[in-house]
Amino acid sequence: MRPVLDIESLTVEYVSDERSVRGADRVSLQIAPGEILGLAGESGCGKSTIAHSIMRLLKDPARITHGSIRFDGADVLAMAPDELRSWRWRQVAMVFQSAMNSLSPVMRIGDQLADVFTTHERMSKRAASSRAAELLELVGIPAARIHAYPHQLSGGQRQRVVIAMACALRPRLLILDEPTTALDVVVQQEILAQIRQLQAELGFAVLFITHDMSLMLELSDRIGVMYAGRIVELAPAAALRREPRHDYTQALMGAFPPITGPRVKLTGLGEGVRFTSIGDLAEVAPGHFVAPADTTEILFAKETQR
């Protein structure tokens, strides 16, 4: 089956006068229709950079310097502004990191939902606002709340509104950029259940970005682990949970405690270890890709000597 999203060797650089930093380095990945792909990694490893480049939301000084992004065969990087605008949200929608700040504080949430319909479907204001009300019902918020302002909703409700907004045009791909950060554990679970239910109903593919490994293992079909702008391991969730191959993935898996089983000493994330010149992904088992890890540099030993 043709992948809905096909990223090929994507390189994003943050360019300044003195130097440029690679936010993403030759990243390749595919997402099949209806699949949930998780992207894990610590802060600053390039997860959000990839999410933003898919929708071409990168701002100066970030620049895509290499690679291609194909959405259902269409070249995203070659789209003209008008084409890009109608493609956004209709095909790919995104839920941003901060639930609190994704909604304009001075507009009623109904108007912000209706915006999508008046822009993309050329609906009348009245029709758009009745669709907005239906969307709210879809995520379990009473339709009467379309007249509410964002500050009148709880953090979880706001994120639901954003998720409802993302589903408005039944996109083929939904990008979730840490959708549950800044929400408490109970609300996190509700939001995830909501996403799973919507995904079952609407059948969109998901790119799920988080640094929370336990959430990721729970939700994703496949998981990519990123480090310093590169993907170091890409495997089905079950395989990754069973036997993570890359040292960094192992460190990541070791960073949260198992609830059952023997007590394990938690290790910090890549403590004393830095990976340099990470190679390209190579298949080690069916569907399980690992970047060669033989070039790890142990800083730990030096530090203990001091």
Binding site: R88, R90, S104, P105, V106, M107, T119, Y149, M165
Partner: protein
């Protein structure tokens, strides 16, 4: 609703305080203002007028609280006494004749400066680093650092005296009677251009810079990125999402600038001999016209309070977050 009532209460207290201050001022001054005025006017005042003056300034004798309540009563009936420099016109009539011109000049220049300045600020921030953003702000700040009366005198000299294409003084040509016909309206507009322009030029840079800076920080907000991801048109994102949020500090500034309006751009009015409140206030001070001064002070205070109350009302409409708490 509760918010509005609380604000209204605050303004009433402020108004009461200003009336009280106005009552106390003449009593705190060394000497007796009535005697000083009498000596200045070289006994040209008749006894009845002296009495009215004394009554007005609260120096007629008797317990202070009695005078105080009598004064407050007179203020609320609009009785500010009789002007000395414009004898025998009542102060309320003098003010009523001046106030519209000041309001016209102030409102027109504030409106133009706010609208143009904010629009320029929005556009400059939207294309940050573009031509508009690099050239206009420094230029406007340069112009804005001239004293406004200097610009007024300069433009009066160039356009009025040297080129002779603009009227030199007053709010309308001598010989015309105020009415709503086109000739008169055009004449008033012609007299308004230079004074208003000198104020607009000086203040517009501040509005633009303020709006530009707020707008730049607003543009970095997540909801702007979200709006862009939603595929909205840039114009809609710029006005409905970014500018709509960046407008709020500007509205607060408008409230504060309203004081400048009613107090009159004093020196501008003096330069153009524009018959406004500022010009009249100067005349009242020079002529030691205490009743008129008091009346003007009170009018200015009342107008500023009223204007700020209106801005509060508008702000409540613009920012739903202040409605709670």
């Amino acid at each position: 609703m509760g918010f509005i009532l609380r604000r209204l209460g605050f303004y009433l207290v402020a108004f009461w305080a200003s009336i009280t201050l106005n009552f106390m001022l003449p009593r705190l001054m060394p000497g007796d203002p009535v005697t000083r005025m009498l000596s200045r006017s070289q006994q040209r005042l008749d006894p009845q007028q002296v009495e009215s003056l004394q009554r007005l300034l609260g120096v007629e004798g008797g317990p202070w609280w009695q005078e105080y309540f009598a004064y407050i009563g007179r203020v609320f009936t609009g009785d500010f006494g009789v002007s000395i420099s414009r004898f025998p016109t009542p102060v309320s009539e003098v003010i009523a004749a001046q106030l519209p011109w000041t309001l016209l000049l102030g409102a027109v220049s504030l409106f133009l400066a706010v609208v143009i300045g904010n629009l320029l600020g929005i556009l400059a921030a939207w294309r940050r680093g573009g031509a508009l953003d690099s050239v206009v702000p420094p230029l406007l700040v340069f112009i804005g650092s001239f004293p406004y009366f200097w610009l007024a005198m300069g433009s009066l000299y160039v356009f009025g005296v040297t080129l002779g294409i603009s009227p030199l003084r007053h709010a309308f040509s001598v010989g015309l009677t105020p009415s709503w016909d086109l000739t008169f309206i055009f004449d008033v507009a012609a007299h308004l251009i230079l004074p208003a322009l000198s104020i607009v030029l000086v203040s517009i840079g501040g509005w633009m810079l303020g709006m530009r800076n707020t707008m730049i920080s607003t543009n970095a907000e997540d909801y702007i990125l979200m709006a862009e991801a939603k595929g909205l048109r840039p114009r809609r994102i710029m006005f409905n999402y970014a500018a709509r949020n960046a407008l709020l500090p500007s509205v607060t500034n408008i409230g504060m600038s309203l004081g400048f309006i009613v107090g009159g751009a004093l020196l501008t009015e003096v330069v153009f001999a524009y018959p406004g409140v500022g010009y009249q206030l100067l005349a009242a001070v020079q002529g030691l016209d205490y009743p008129l001064m008091q009346g003007l002070f009170l009018t200015i205070t009342a107008a500023v309070l009223l204007a700020n109350f209106l801005v509060d009302l508008v702000y409540v409409r613009l920012d739903p977050r202040v409605r709670v708490g």
